[in-house]
């Protein structure tokens, strides 16, 4: 149902076409988006695969630490990395100033450029590829590689001819997730002033107040996204067949001291650039402004963020639990399609969802108002439009998949025999749920709630576009401060978001470390 509503924005394409848009804006948008996607794809693949290979199969100093620390950038929304990078590397930033003072006027590459966006997005999104590729390398084990070596391939050849092709479906799945995030990203693009579809939708919404224009842009963006979705689903289907042999992660490749040192420096640099430096800078900036900025308004921002994220997370968990449970009670291809359709929302950029949900809700609103006037002499302008409802609904659609994943896989781990064992011991349907399923699902439910909570906290476009008046959150505050270039003042809300974001990353690594999964 929510997805069907989203697709209704397609219907709007047939409406009046704004020739202006097509002629002047579209070519630039498509070009920008294509370059961005290609650049980020290359960036995250190089970073993600090389780091995954190093931590999964090689041994070098600090490997255990890097193994999980390299996931930390997941906690950093791309827009935070982005404004820190600009704040640091811009013409007026400390680096360029220092360089100027030491060597006089030197021309450094401009950070507010296509290359800069790609670099920042790659640093922010490589963990998607890293996480999945690392699992692939760790589970495919040394056996296939050893077989390759026994057949006369060198280790390097073995990597390119065996390990890499075997891990390809995983890498592709991670890559597609990263690209979906890229397409959906709004905050970073806004900060860099790099025009893509998401920013264009936002501008059409607020500057032109043109719903049709926003909807048309949204439907073009959806086409891009659908390509990524199809690729992602395909590579997921292949992932099943590619697990060969048992894992032998114990037998790591011992790197020579020089190579090990190089590996350490490389991993360390990436970690520093993607996480340590931005967070340190955030802390420094926060210290500068905390005295002035931490007033009662801040408590309202934080309160709004936590409240919205909590309600949203609760809705997501309940909906995901119902959906997963329905699939368990009535398995079948129709149910699989329902689940797939319902969880497709994660692929849709928040800006698109905001548009897709706003149009039908606005229509319903007008109808209700008319009916209200006619029937009860009721006089009002909006009922649903501009309420929290539409915002929460959009969150639900966008993040249902985030909650569905852990709950569904948790439910799959409860075998049918466990159900039958409980029933043969006298437990009815209610008993089964309260005494067996919910306790067994506890970690899954917590994980789902934590992931959804943090995703909603850092969510920017939906919140910006559908929030009722006065409902500013931490993410909105970041947007407002960064759009005025006040990096220091954006640091405080950003730091709060980052701290909340570290929770699920820890959960994620903790889950990955458990042998049962």
């Amino acid at each position: 149902m929510p997805v069907a509503v989203t697709f209704s924005s397609f219907a709007q394409v047939e409406g009046d076409i704004l020739a202006h848009l097509a002629e002047f804006v579209l070519p630039e948008l498509v070009g920008n988006t294509l370059w961005l996607v290609i650049g980020v794809a290359i960036g995250v693949s190089l970073l993600g695969v090389s780091l995954a290979w190093l931590t999964a199969t090689c041994d070098f100093p600090g490997r255990r630490l890097f193994d999980w620390a390299l996931l930390l950038p997941l906690a950093l929304p791309a827009y935070v990395t982005a404004f820190v990078a600009i704040g640091l590397l811009d013409f007026t930033g400390p680096l360029q100033t220092a360089v100027r003072e030491t060597w006089g006027p030197v021309k450094l590459p401009e950070i507010r450029s296509r290359g800069g966006v790609i670099l920042v997005m790659s640093l922010a999104l490589y963990p998607y590829v890293y996480l999945i590729a690392r699992n692939a390398f760790a589970t495919q084990g040394a056996i296939a590689l050893e077989a390759a070596q026994s057949l006369g391939l060198s280790r390097t050849q073995g990597f390119f001819r065996v390990a890499l092709p075997m891990a390809r479906p995983w890498i592709a799945a991670g890559l597609m997730l990263a690209l979906m995030e890229t397409l959906a990203d709004f905050g970073t693009m806004a900060i860099f002033n790099y025009d893509t579809f998401t920013t264009a939708i936002y501008k059409a919404w607020y500057s032109l107040f043109s719903l049709p224009a926003a909807a048309q842009l949204a439907s073009i963006l959806i086409l891009f996204v659908l390509v990524a979705v199809v690729f992602e689903q395909r590579s997921r289907a292949q992932m099943r067949y590619s697990t060969v042999g048992r894992s032998a992660a114990q037998r790591r490749i011992r790197l020579s001291p020089a190579l090990a040192g190089l590996a350490f420096v490389y991993a360390g640099t990436v970690l520093a650039a993607a996480f340590l430096i931005p967070v340190t800078q955030l802390v420094l900036w926060t210290r500068e402004v905390i005295g002035d900025d931490l007033d009662s308004r801040y408590r309202a921002f934080a309160w709004h963020s936590v409240l919205l994220a909590s309600i949203g997370a609760l809705m997501v968990v309940i909906a995901a639990l119902l959906l997963a449970y329905a699939g368990r009670q009535r398995p079948g291809s129709a149910m699989v399609w329902t689940q797939r359709l319902a969880t497709l929302g994660y692929a849709f950029p928040g800006a698109v969802l905001a548009v897709g949900l706003f149009i039908p809700v606005a229509a319903l609103d007008n109808w209700l108002i008319d009916a209200g006037r006619a029937g009860f002499g009721f006089d009002g302008t909006e009922i649903l439009k501009g309420t929290l409802l539409i915002m929460l609904l959009a969150y639900l659609v966008r993040f249902l998949a985030v909650g569905f994943g852990p709950i569904d896989s948790g439910l799959h781990r409860i075998t049918r025999n466990v159900d039958e064992a409980a029933r043969s011991l006298g437990a009815g349907t209610a008993g089964l749920l309260t005494r067996v399923h919910l306790p067994m699902l506890r970690t899954s439910l917590l994980t789902a709630a934590a992931l959804a909570f943090v995703d909603i906290m850092k969510e920017m476009p939906i919140t910006l576009m559908t929030r009722p008046f006065g409902w500013d959150t931490l993410a909105v505050r970041v947007f407002e401060m960064t759009s005025e270039g006040e990096w220091e003042r954006a640091a405080l809300p950003a730091l709060a978001i980052v701290i909340a974001g570290i929770i699920p990353v820890i959960l994620l690594t903790w889950r990955g470390a458990r042998p049962l999964d």
């Binding site: 075998t415 025999n417 466990v418 039958e420 064992a421 409980a422 029933r423 043969s424 011991l425 006298g426 437990a427 009815g428 005494r435 067996v436 306790p439 067994m440 506890r442 049962l516």
Partner: protein, 355 residues
């Protein structure tokens, strides 16, 4: 404890018949076993009895009460049937003691604790009450599953391939242990397995199933020595069929000589004595029906041999080219291709009409 009766039970998925006309009676306190190759319908039969599958015809009665009939079934949770699953299906979030106590509702705390302790003692896990399932070995988990199923004093225990996840040695030891426990609790139990050794060491009654039908419901001894049809003869134990000709209702001639004993074949609808003469049959020879005897004039060539420790299992080629098996004490070590003397030692005749 109760008697279990299946009265011509049938079940099918769409057009595919899973079990057909299944009938047997398992007396109170007895251990029964459904034995058959995978896909023979034995697990479906178990699920019908436990109340997880509906039946399309016939009737299932437990302790005299109807549990299933077409269009109606007593819910699984009301049947008071204990189940032990292949993967044990222990509740991972509960301790051993809480697993065992799961089915004990509506009893006082003290009675509950006493029953849990009693059950854990029975299965020899007294010291493991506070542990979680994943801290136990496979054999221990198996025993927890059994204790959990026995704790609410069920009328009947059902076990689905209970030992297939264990290694061979443990399997044999545990199956004797389980029989012991079931007998001590005087529980009626039905076990499903594809392993005849398991069936023979556990069960009082064994039903051999094939294509959804029970081929024979009998004691293990009679299944081995008096198989009702070719499938049972082939599935249970080892042996070979050789051609023979009926002389009369207590004599059959095969190429190794004349076998004496009741000939369980009907060659003609009338079943008269005279009409059986010259009837062509296949006679089942078990490996222990052919004895190696150096003094015998009857010779057979060794075509293959398998060392079993205490004995050799020789595959013999008889003069006509037919094959037979013989179990020979292992100090009689002969080479492949050698001819050895053999002699028949058949207790009773097992023969099937040749089609």
């Amino acid at each position: 404890m109760a008697e279990l009766i299946l009265d011509s039970v049938s079940q099918s998925y769409g057009t595919r018949q899973i079990i057909a006309d299944l009938s047997f009676t398992l007396p109170e306190g007895a251990i029964g076993c459904l034995l058959g190759p995978s896909g023979c319908g034995k697990t479906t039969a178990l699920r019908c009895i436990s109340g997880f599958e509906a039946i399309q015809s016939g009737e299932i009665r437990i302790g005299g009460d109807v549990a299933s009939r077409p269009g109606w079934m007593l819910p699984a949770e009301k049947r008071r049937i204990g189940m032990v699953f292949q993967d044990y299906a222990l509740f991972p979030h509960l301790t051993v003691a809480d697993n065992v106590g799961f089915g004990l509702r509506g009893e006082t705390h003290a009675a509950r604790q006493a029953r849990i302790a009693e059950m854990l003692e029975l299965v020899g896990l007294g010291g493991h009450a506070g542990q979680f399932p994943h801290q136990l070995s496979g054999g221990q988990q198996q025993r927890v599953a059994l204790a959990r199923a026995l704790a609410p004093r069920p009328r009947l225990i059902l076990m689905d391939e209970p030992f297939s996840n264990l290694d061979v040695e443990l399997r044999e030891r545990l199956s004797l242990e389980v029989r012991d426990i079931l007998k001590r609790e005087a529980t009626t139990a039905l076990i499903v397995t594809h392993d005849q050794h398991e069936a023979f060491s556990l069960a009082d009654w064994v039903g051999v199933m094939h294509r959804g039908r029970i081929q024979q419901w009998d004691t293990p001894y009679r299944l081995y020595h008096e198989p009702a049809n070719r499938f049972v003869a082939d599935f249970v134990g080892q042996g070979a069929l050789v051609t023979g000709e009926v002389i009369n209702d207590h004599q059959v001639e095969i190429e190794l000589g004349v076998l004496n004993g009741h000939v369980p074949v009907e060659c003609d609808a009338s079943g008269c004595d005279e009409c059986m003469r010259n009837c062509q049959v296949d006679v089942l020879l078990r490996p222990d029906d052919i004895i190696h005897d150096d003094d015998s004039l009857m010779l057979a060539e060794i075509e293959n041999k398998a060392f079993r420790g205490a004995e050799f299992l020789y595959t013999l080629r008889l003069p006509s080219g037919q094959r037979a098996l013989s179990l020979v004490p292992s100090h009689h070590n002969h080479a492949i291709g050698e001819k050895i003397g053999i002699r028949l030692a058949v207790d009773h005749v097992v023969a099937f009409r040749r089609e």
